[in-house]
């Protein structure tokens, strides 16, 4: 086995490194900066140039080496390279080749381009370790054009009614995607500190984002009526939002595809904006890798495994610590 599954994470015995480990290890290759993939406490990190700034921002002083997409590294005779995953800026799939056998770890990915993340590319392999967060046929995303029309319409209507529009989106990836998706000429974009800190990191590395205004206790909110407030989902429920006066709230998440989840979140609107592949995307990705062995890591693993088996793949489930929504919401409190 080029890669095996250990209590610490996905392990390459020949190269003696881990991919996205959740327990402390010596050497960690990290697909992207989300908290359920980039854990703290490893001795040495390897990630893409584009993911590195956010990881430093989140994990502090770490020993982090970075590589370009497609650049090949040899680690103890194992050839390793990072390839775009289209999930968030800097996110990668990790290709591992040993003695002619190729394995790919998908991390999190999205197959359709969002104009922000490096677009996903299929990587041919023998074994594909894939997420399947939305691995059910009920998940079928709208195009970004349809989504931005929905969000713009909501924002415009709120602005006309003298309200702010507050949208809950994870600080890394989703928040920037929402602000690039909307028509920024409608009004000002106001950001929560957690979002703006990430914006600053991304801007510094050359990512183009629309103008935003960081909300602090000094911000004169009256000077920015009808704004689009972009904040982590948890901030929408807390006292932070009160300062804005009348506000319509929305959540941007793939889970908003389910009416029940949408209603539970008790926001005024739910927009189905996901940074993960939908059912068709997952199936396309599996097909395009050309892999015969598939390992499903997080999401609807049992369903996706059985489905793949019926399609003729050798499919298995791997228990991991990925896909924990809690980590994302907790970190967003900061």
């Amino acid at each position: 086995m080029v890669l095996e599954f250990r209590d610490e994470g996905i392990y390459c015995p020949a190269g003696r490194f881990y991919i996205d480990p959740w327990k402390r290890v010596d050497r960690a290759l990290v697909t992207h900066g989300h908290a359920d993939h980039a854990y703290e406490g490893h001795r040495h990190y390897l990630a893409t140039h584009e993911a590195a700034p956010v990881m430093r921002h989140r994990l502090g002083e770490i020993d982090l080496e970075s590589v370009a997409y497609g650049e090949i590294r040899e680690i103890d005779g194992v050839r390793v390279s990072f390839h775009p995953a289209g999930h968030v800026p800097g996110s990668a799939q990790i290709r591992v080749e040993h003695r002619g056998e190729v394995w790919v770890v998908s991390g999190d990915y999205k197959t359709t381009p969002d104009g922000l993340s490096e677009p996903w590319e299929p990587v041919r392999c023998d074994a594909f370790i894939t997420e399947c967060t939305f691995g059910l046929p009920v998940f079928d995303w709208l195009t970004d054009a349809e989504l931005s029309a929905q969000i713009d319409e909501w924002w415009r209507a709120n602005r006309a009614a003298g309200r702010h529009s507050a949208i809950g989106a994870y600080a890394l990836g989703k928040a920037q995607r929402v602000m690039t998706m909307v028509d920024a000429s409608i009004g000002p974009i106001l950001t929560h500190g957690a979002v703006e800190n990430t914006n600053a990191v991304l801007r510094r590395q050359g990512v183009t984002l629309p103008d935003t205004i960081r909300v602090t206790s000094e911000t004169d909110l009256k000077a920015h009526p009808g704004g689009l407030i972009v904040a982590p989902p948890s901030a929408l429920a807390g006292p932070w939002l009160r300062r804005f006066g009348p506000v319509s709230t929305a959540i941007a998440s793939g889970w908003m595809a389910l009416r029940g989840v949408r209603r539970r979140r008790a926001a005024d609107r739910g927009f189905v904006v996901s940074d993960h592949a939908d059912w068709a995307g997952l199936n396309m990705a599996v097909r395009e890798t050309g892999a015969e062995r598939i390992f499903a890591t997080h999401g609807y693993t049992a369903v996706f495994r059985q489905w793949l088996e019926e399609q003729g793949y050798d499919a298995q489930i791997v228990a991991t610590e990925y896909g924990d929504e809690l980590l994302e919401t907790e970190e967003a409190e900061a």
């Binding site: 029940g260 989840v261 209603r263 019926e310 610590e321």
Partner: protein
Amino acid sequence: MKRFAQLFTALDQTTKTLAKTAALTAYFEDAPEADRLWTIALLSGRRPKRTVNATRLSEWAAEVAGLPMWLFKASYDVVGDLAETIHLVLPEAEAAPDRSLSDWIADIRALAAQPEPERKAWVLRSWTELDGAERFVFNKLITGGFRVGVSQKLMTRSLAKATGIEEAELAHRLMGKWTPETTSYVALITAPDPEADLSRPYPFCLAYGVEGDPADLGPAEDWIAEWKWDGIRGQLILRGGQHHLWSRGEELMTDRFPEFARAADFLPDGTVLDGEILAWDAETRRPMGFSALQTRIGRKTVSKKVLADAPVILRAYDLLEEDGVDLRALPFAERRARLVGRIADLPADAPVALSPVVDFADWDTLGPIRETAREAQAEGLMLKRKGSPYHVGRKKGDWWKWKLDPLTIDAVMVYAQAGHGRRANLYTDFTFAVWKEDELVPFTKAYSGLTDAEFRRITHWVRRNTLARFGPVRQVPPEHVFEIGFEGIQKSTRHKSGVALRFPRMLRWRDDKPVAEANTHADLLQMLEQYG
């Protein structure tokens, strides 16, 4: 259907009452009358019956979507709603001309009489013609499960705004056994005939739970206390030589409770009583407990044996109509006096008996009386202001329920299962156990009572601490103690623990309590002894 789907979306995507009222009022002002009537019917629970069975629909949808049946079912398990699952898996619709809600419903109703191949062809064609929310609403209508988060009160208020008719009057007009087939918008709403439906009930007056100290309600002498019975709220109507029995959910229960056919032997025509239906032990003159009444619920026809084992009466506590005159505007004390005059002296075999008042001198003495409610086979007390009219629906201030605190037990979580629909991505359904020597005996499930943040925390823990999986159920290590609250306890042969709880829910997560200090099976049996 576009206009109706637009209304549905507007109602479904907001939690704000004002926005819902505005959307409904606008709809009642501009939709065609026939659609308005159907909308009123749908929002007051008068849904067309299911015309295609769920299995067929699932098969057809899976076929159109190109999915194996197991995968469709797995999707349905997560979504938790058949109409939504079908809507989500189907391919996008093609453009088609718009047809009104009432036209669609007419077609759906006609479907019942058609042979299956035609039915299938029609449903499949409809799926290709209806887009977005329209298709979801359509699925809800053919599966007989249409619901939207709008109370009848909110609907009535919006209709009042759109028509200028007073809200309480409208609420009364909307009661009873009408359907859009038996009436019209004009006959029901704008120019009704009061004689048209003699079975029509009055809207029920509902109570809020007491918050804090009842002494805050003002002088005790302004109030009447009654036992709060654990039965079925019912309104018994005697008009035009016939009797009708309505539930609070506006369900006609006349046939289910044949005991009330004899009511006319004891009460004059033109009488309407409000009270509680209870299984009644004529010998001891005491209620038999909810488990006895349960044998009568959900049965359309009642066997002689069930009738003999669990006979019911109405314990009446209000008189709404006397000699055909609506008394609802009179003060409660006056209505109560007239009620006593009508039924206090009825013979013991009458199907109606007076629900007594609970005498009390002041608020301080009422508290200890409430504590004895379980001995009186009651759930607590009702407090009613002597001077209050019989309100329409729930209105704060004049009627209060002062229930007993629930029974509680500290139990250990042993299994967890993911929720459905609104909580599909969280572990919310737990099985709890108590100690029997050094073994944990599961005794109940509970799935509500925690905050979303707590459910997220426990979900995080369950994912990391699964011992074994049995389908969707995960066994977890016995590490967490929860306080379980419940309203009653009964003997059960179906459960290994030997008991069944009524309305179990989690009251709190006992983070502070070590597992060894959870309650024992002996504690449960003692509660059964005491309250069962």
